[in-house]
Symmetry: C2
Subunit: 349 residues, 2 copies
Amino acid sequence: MNRKPPFAPQCPIPATTGDAIELAHGGGGLLTRRLIDGLFRPAFAETADDLTHDGAVFEIDGARLAFSTDSYVVRPLFFPGGDIGTLAVNGTVNDLAMCGAEPLYLSVGLVLEEGFAIADLSRVIASMRQAATAAGVRLVTGDTKVVEHGKGDGLYINTSGVGRLFAAARVAPTRVRPGDVVVLSGDIGRHGMAVMAAREGLGFETPILSDCAPVALAVRQLFEAGIEVHCLRDLTRGGLATALIEIADTGGVGIRLDEAAIAVAEPVRGACEILGLDPLYVANEGRFVAIVPAAAAGQAVDVLRRFGEQVAVIGTVEEGARGATVSLSTIGGSRVLDMLSGEQLPRIC
Amino acid sequence: MNRKPPFAPQCPIPATTGDAIELAHGGGGLLTRRLIDGLFRPAFAETADDLTHDGAVFEIDGARLAFSTDSYVVRPLFFPGGDIGTLAVNGTVNDLAMCGAEPLYLSVGLVLEEGFAIADLSRVIASMRQAATAAGVRLVTGDTKVVEHGKGDGLYINTSGVGRLFAAARVAPTRVRPGDVVVLSGDIGRHGMAVMAAREGLGFETPILSDCAPVALAVRQLFEAGIEVHCLRDLTRGGLATALIEIADTGGVGIRLDEAAIAVAEPVRGACEILGLDPLYVANEGRFVAIVPAAAAGQAVDVLRRFGEQVAVIGTVEEGARGATVSLSTIGGSRVLDMLSGEQLPRIC
């Protein structure tokens, strides 16, 4: 195990200067939120309903649709358990699923750096094809741009997607109610730690594989089981904690988590301890929370267990009187989870 | 007028090595086509109908939709007549229009370089808002990523879009028939030369403004007039010549153009002559061709003249017996137009 501090040289967290973009503006935490609230929301207020959600929903000629976009800048491009191509397909597939939609069609926008190996591009394209087939989506349109050597970093991919909503009712943080429960679809922290290990050349005894996978089929079965799904959120940048803080904030509720119920694999926990990271804030690419009425908790757990073992009810939604907070009950006490103010793991997706 | 050759040092056209990405792979010409045919088409063959078209069309629950994506890497970000934000909205709006669709919803994916000025980002976002309002589309969902200083070039934007098809009949190169005519919506070459002038610091006597503009309303009126539109294509990377070569190739037809009918503004023509560029291959961002039956030519010209003065019938579609070629009749002869094999104007969009 290599114990060198892995962040200092490669990923400095700059001071907030206020007039220039920092890495943390892309981290999904406080600065991302400030950019959205300070710049994007005022500009797009009359056009976008909820810019912090995973996608937009609208109706065209009676068809109820979801639409989502994500750019992928993960480094390195290839990591244990996947690559930027797998990620680009599953990430947008999952964003559509989190809108309560069946993902159908994806677009692919490539920004290539001059000199990038065509053999690597072929590998990534093959991964995208395989991931699309596995998730049941079609890659139907694309675009390729090339920038001069030194003006990119090999390959950036944008995928956008269109899907069909499963249910008439909106799936959104605003539908979350006190008394609802939070169901987590599996253990957390794998993707972030797999990418960190690959990037920093850390040789863990047990290799950590990314959890990168499509969750759309699991989501579909929640709806097919007739469960009243109030909110769905995948646990990407900023991890479980950030996802729940955003939901609590938007929904105006409190969320109380039971730390003992949140599964973290031993190698992930060990790596996090060594690197000084909190697994609650580490990115996942195949995990999500479903917030459902307490009465549907057992049924939701049963459905999700078809897709993974470590499904659990990890918390409950409470009145938001104390402000919209997420608190964590641990052995011997509890603490309030805060939004990350810096960038813990840049370019993890 | 600065007469230094502007391409040599900044934009070398590398030899085709075959194993690494070159700038010309993003130029819209021969290498782009090879990448599509050699790599993307085999991988996505069973999923995508026509990867050389501006977008995909499909039906969801009875709604007939178009879906398109484009990444924008223009340099400089601000140029006479627009900026990367104007371009990112109008470009995708126009791609949807070229599918024969009314553009409705756009997504925005930003890849920002650490250190990029937030004031510049604000300007671009304001441009996007203004362009969206002008084009009648809603910017409904987005994503922001930040890469380390030196791993990007300020700002790259992806926009993807969803629109509603105007007509039941497909708008595609395969519908083009011998006897059809080619209607051009205005003068050509402005966008490419405006960006080149800004990039190279060329001081033309008459400043050239980009033609960047939405063409969706003009397209809508073609359909509302009941014109049987066989094919639409905007004249972006590779210009008028590349667009028509692709249509002729895909449609299996010949296209004969009358050079005298193709409007090129005097400052654009002068700049092209000095730089050794052919305006037929220079990018536009607010011009398109409509290929319609000869009987509808007059009506199509009348409709498009509501939106610009220099609308003209510039050519006719012929049997493709000699191979799918585009030829240009000039005073004293004719020549066959070839696909560009290098990259004439990198990062023009």
